[in-house]
Symmetry: D3
């Protein structure tokens, strides 16, 4: 293990929309869609595009729980 963030979800980009400073990315992870907002600069530098294989990474302190 090399990164402390405990959540790493392997998926594929389904949609990518850029604004002035931020970019909204939708990723298919199994049966779920994961949505991420990153800087437009990172999206550009990573040359993200629909169909790219990516990993969504989330620090565990950012995950809330709801009991149904």
């Amino acid at each position: 293990m090399t990164l402390s963030a405990r959540n790493k979800l392997v998926g594929k980009i389904e949609e990518l929309q850029s604004g002035g400073v931020m970019a909204h990315v939708v990723i298919r992870v199994g049966d779920n869609l994961i949505e991420s907002v990153i800087t437009k600069r990172s999206a550009d530098e990573m040359k993200l595009k629909v169909g790219d294989a990516v990993v969504a990474i989330i620090k565990s302190t950012e995950v809330m729980l709801e009991k149904s």
Copy 2:
């Protein structure tokens, strides 16, 4: 839609560990394990236990992307 957070992952608690102030919860979501750190108080008040059906909720600004 009622909550602005865009990521809601339905799963089941596999493991729950409490510390002095925080609790570490592991949730099975399909083929993935999602890990969450919430307050011990919330874990207690929600009476969380292994086997509970829960939804992991994540704001999209907290999701990073890595390109493989």
Copy 3:
């Protein structure tokens, strides 16, 4: 209790401004104004507008303290 996030502030939307990807929302909560930045998609899907009753939700790990 059903959601682990410990801060839930009931208020009313006073102002709403959309950018390309994000939306800036100002909420009146008693004597305070709370400001939130969510995705434009959530603001649109929730059909948020000035005057709407909303709850501002904040995970306790995101709250800093300053001693005056």
Copy 4:
């Protein structure tokens, strides 16, 4: 204005509980209780105690909205 974080809620500490590394602080802000989790080190260095006047500070990107 000197700090970019847009939410600054003036209150008074009602309760303070320390764990091994983190501390859970409950602050009365008008009719609301705000809960914060900070490092035990900060709580100790700031000499936080029940009754202290504090400001709870929250970055607007950390505030979610729920429509009732």
Copy 5:
């Protein structure tokens, strides 16, 4: 000590770009560049501009670690 956030990095603004709602700020801190995304409103109200001395503030729960 007055603010609970444990990371305060003194630097100078090298670049500032505004979008519709957010602003992207690049700060020189010694040998490193720190990048921050804040609301355009805060950037405007603080009258941020290239060359300004600023402090980048980060809550410790937001810092991940990678082992090389």
Copy 6:
């Protein structure tokens, strides 16, 4: 570039303290000390110890600015 998080600070662990669920890590980065709170599980699995070379990673949306 492979990770969207824009802040990557190379340093060395100066101090490491574990609680029940979380660990507090102090990293020397040039003239600055960076402090990180990660899960005890990650600290254990990464076998973090004083003297280790690490990279502190921070998403730009988590960086606030203060104008002096």
